[in-house]
Symmetry: C2
């Protein structure tokens, strides 16, 4: 087809490329990847009993570290657990309020899940319990289906069902090593989402802080501000606001002191409990509940009742519950893994993502059967746990036992606790969710990531939780698809005195070789999405160069396509390469291919493209291709 | 952070990488790509009048080639045009029947659109008119909204509206250079889709061939076979079937003769017209229409009436029309571009995809205003046009004029034409749509592409046209996403006697360097989707190697990550690299980065990752990194 003289087939440059063995078939490739991620580190399994031992060690890490557990470690864990409980109890009640559940459900969620996690989890620092964002997620999504103020029983049933599904999803993510599904929420998206959710949660707290009776069920900023605007024009008791604000200021001051001096780390940790006690006393003494101060009133005494019969695993709402379960499962895992990983890095141990997911799944399944809603690792409490010097998950057990004692003995004391204090406890925990420094960092490093982050933020703020998440995922994927559709195609030049060929745009010292056009396709796929673009881009360069250099001696005689980056090709991509070859042949320009990937050379052989281009024009690396092209140029120069 | 000795900063290996200028910002990058594809070949524009001239030349290629047009070319075009008309007139009537429109609408569609295309199109061979697949698409989608047998006027209105939208979409694809949207239908998907559609169309023809009165509106195989089964158990006139079959055999024999002997190419081209004439005569003579043979009966005489007032650009059905318009626009463009490109390659000229789209768009907009439905380039007629020796689009004009004459003079003669003959003409054109050889080829070369192809085929066959298309697009994208999620990570080795480092799996001659782990990430993105997978894969290798080689002298002392293929990174990817660095530092292993892409090194600098890894551990190429790592090994060897 080409009118150019074919270079005699010499063994060296093309032989290796053309004679590599066939690559593994695509499904082999895929199953290989899956298998690798299934059998962690490819451990060989022995006898059946050894299998059982290994599996139980894998499922219950407590069996491993439990053997080395000593009194000294327990002392640390006891202290950390008590500190944790003093923060956890008021937070749990507050988050239950945010999830539109009665206060005891928050306490239940701080009892069963931490116990399960303690024996199954691999993180030593994570503090388990209800968290703000998941509470918001649950209430904002479920109240669209069932109104909690009109039908609290159905609402609760749906909460438990969603929790059950969340557990099932989390455990199966872990079992089938589907952790990558959680990865679809990129770090940047999580940062934006958390910040947006924190603001939404903060605005929701205005209800409690101001003691508003009627409030919107929507979570977006516009509806909430409108509702607050209407409410403040009606008579409100200033006591709620006064108590809430003063204790909020108190908690913030203790936090400031705790940060200034590491020795006082316990001060911000016990400040919420202290606030609850003081405010309850205040209301009790002043009989504030008779004068318009809203109080918690009745809290059910006793241990978690069973909720197994309340799960609705069939019926019209099951689909909706499963969807809500899936979203909360993903968000809960993303938060827990982020928290767990960052503290594991500080202490220098490895967190096994898949085991974590199984542990979280089991604890939420168990939770859904014992009147808990979705629990996960909390940012603020994990930090307190870490600062208090926890050594193992025993601190979670200590906390759970303290919560149990509180449930048995102290529920009556909560009768006079003002609701506004819960709002201030939640508000005080929110700044930790807004990571401005990280947002700046993302803006600095990667503008497109920042866009995803901002999308999630504004989506949550002005739309809803789901809109925020969808926007972030769509932006992240669009960016990748756009990069695939319009890949960069570089012209390469030689770095003087070396055999290294680099992009002449990136490295100004790289010099082009006369009579040669060396291009590199910067995309890992040459496929239906970008084949036409790549073909037209390369051909337009060739034609430009041809028009620019009419002088016959200087004209481009060879085009080298460096395929180093192209990992895979499809039939559309193969057709594009063939079109380029045909067009170049009609212009009397030789095409050379350098360093095609394994799949690429395999498919080029299958499609007989190798023979059409010429077997001797496929090279292992760019320098060899350049040499061959220069030899061709000299040859034809002699002929002229 | 690392306890290893830092290599003194020497200018050569890292200097170039670290001091390359900043890459263009992402939007700059994107607008650059768009701009490039907008201004074809980056032509500079001059004065206003020159602008106008250039624009009119670009829009109306006839102005360019028209000046060199001579009598000899016209003689060729005249012959080709007449041959085309003899095939086109019966096919147009048949396709109108397939689109559930009256016969004259097929003829209208063969009159206006070819005239517009003749002055705007860049292909010299394409024959414009109604085609089978688009006719099926239109009827199958619109009859779900409006039943053509109950309300033919509303049905027709919706057809014209969909045609109008199809034209608008096509023209804007061309104007805004959005041709890549058509690329989302990969070559393999089109092959599968066409084959499935051909079978569906063939089954639909059983209605005409058997003379069935009541037939299903569904297009899937199961419904159609059920309808045929019911119909054949009712009394049918065998005359329809006999006439249809005998003329089908006649057409197929002429085609066989035409293929055997190139001289008789005109025989299959005029066979349909001949069949129409002969069968009409037969019915007229035998008075078959009185004995159960179904005939076309009335065909409206005269030129295309205006249909501008029938467009429904507002109202409840506009959204549905726009959607149908979009799908038919994409399919019509995909077919026309595939046809046009293949014949352009044979004749050795370039087809401008964007101009083609503008031309197709304009002709369909004009068509929708003059009672035409969606026209495009037809496979079978283009082949006839080419064989008949067409030189320019003038053959389309000749055909259009012939159709015009037929509309003025010959409509009355169609009264006795049996409907069954239309079925046999359509049936005879179908084998050309089923490209078994190409399907085998796709299976041979790329199994995943074949899966997309098969998905489209079975989706169309057993579901509907839309299901088939969606399945194909979903399979194509899933494959790319899966490859991104689980990229291959290779261990590299040196090819003895060279400085080339290759995958040790692909090239068995490549040899690993002792004490060194060289890995290459085979993905163009290191992002949220795969960062965790890549990190765990690399770290698990390091730990495996560490466990395997307990001998202190042989242990891995350095890990080189070859980032040649990584074009872009996001904050999650940067965090993964940092995690790898930290973990390696804790194992006293040095990390070196080789050949990071432009965006990658830029973001690593921004994120201060370069400083944490050590500026002297970033290299331009793998050989330099290997050298530095070996030097480090010798150094520490001396220290031991």
């Amino acid at each position: 087809m080409s009118s150019l003289p074919e270079k005699p087939a010499c063994r060296t440059p093309s032989f290796l490329v053309l004679n590599s063995p066939d690559p593994p078939a695509p499904w082999h490739e895929l199953t290989g990847s899956v298998k690798h991620s299934l059998l962690s580190h490819g451990k060989k399994l022995g006898s059946f009993s050894k299998c059982i031992t290994l599996a139980s060690y894998a499922l219950f890490p407590v069996l491993q570290w439990g053997r080395n557990y000593d009194l000294k470690m327990f002392r640390s864990d006891l202290l950390a657990g008590l500190t944790l409980a003093s923060l956890g109890i008021p937070q749990s009640i507050g988050y239950a309020n945010l999830a539109k559940l009665d206060p005891q459900y928050g306490l239940y969620t701080s009892f069963v899940p931490p116990l399960i996690y303690a024996v199954m989890g691999t993180s030593r620092d994570i503090a388990i319990g209800p968290v703000a964002v998941v509470s918001l997620l649950i209430s904002s999504m479920i109240q669209k289906v069932v109104d909690p103020s009109l039908d609290p029983i159905s609402y609760r049933k749906m909460v438990f069902t969603a929790t059950f599904f969340a557990g099932i999803f989390q455990a199966s993510f872990g079992l089938f090593r589907l952790g990558f599904l959680v990865d679809f929420l990129s770090h940047a998206a999580i940062v934006g989402f958390m910040a947006g959710a924190a603001i939404v949660i903060g605005l929701q707290q205005l209800k409690g802080l101001l003691g508003i009776n009627h409030f919107t069920n929507n979570t977006d900023v516009v509806s909430v501000i409108k509702a607050v605007w209407i409410a403040v024009h009606q008579p409100l008791h200033p006591g709620n606001f006064l108590i809430g604000c003063s204790f909020l200021i108190f908690i913030l001051i203790t936090r400031f002191l705790g940060r200034r001096n590491r020795k006082y780390f316990w001060l911000p940790a016990i400040a919420p409990l202290l606030s609850v006690i003081l405010s309850t006393l205040l209301v009790f003494v002043t009989k504030g509940d008779k004068h318009g101060i809203k109080t918690i009133k009745h809290v059910q005494r006793g241990l978690n009742p069973s909720s197994a019969k309340q799960l609705q695993l069939s019926g019209p709402l099951t689909g909706a519950s499963a969807k809500i379960g899936l979203i909360s499962a993903a968000i809960a895992l993303a938060e827990a893994l982020a928290v767990g990983r960052s503290f594991a890095t500080i202490k220098g141990y490895q967190l096994d993502g898949n085991k974590e997911m199984i542990a979280m799944g089991c604890m939420n399944i168990a939770g859904s059967l014992s009147s808990c809603y979705v629990a996960t690792g909390s940012f603020s409490r994990t930090a307190v746990n870490f600062s208090a010097g926890c050594k193992t998950t025993v601190s979670n057990i200590v906390m759970a036992i303290t919560v149990f004692i509180a449930l048995q003995l102290l529920t009556k004391l909560l009768y006079y606790t003002p609701i506004t204090i819960l709002a201030s406890i939640i508000l005080s925990a929110l700044p930790g969710l807004i990571d401005l420094r990280e947002a700046c960092n993302i803006w600095e490093v990667d503008k497109m990531d920042f866009l995803a982050s901002a999308g999630a933020f504004f989506g949550v703020l002005f739309g809803s939780v789901e809109i925020g998440l969808s926007v972030a995922i769509i932006i992240s994927f669009t960016r990748i698809i756009l990069n695939l559709i319009w890949p960069r195609i570089e012209i390469l030049g030689r770095i003087q005195g070396t055999d290294i060929f680099c992009s002449i745009r990136q490295y100004s010292v790289a010099v082009r070789t006369q009579g040669l056009l060396i291009t590199r396709i910067n995309s890992c796929f040459l496929c239906f999405m970008n084949a036409n673009y790549i073909r037209e881009r390369i051909l337009s360069w060739v034609i430009e160069e041809k028009d620019a250099m009419e002088n016959a001696k200087e004209r481009t005689r060879s085009v080298i396509i460096d395929m180093t980056n192209v990992m895979n090709i499809d039939t559309t991509g193969l057709a594009a390469i063939e079109d380029i070859h045909k067009k170049l042949a009609s212009l009397e320009i030789q095409l050379a291919i350098a360093n095609p990937g394994w799949q690429v050379i395999h498919k080029m052989k299958k499609a007989k493209l190798v023979d059409r281009i010429g077997r001797s024009w496929i090279f292992l690396a760019v320098p060899q291709a350049v040499e061959a092209c220069l030899a061709l140029k000299r040859e034809s120069g002699h002929l002229c």
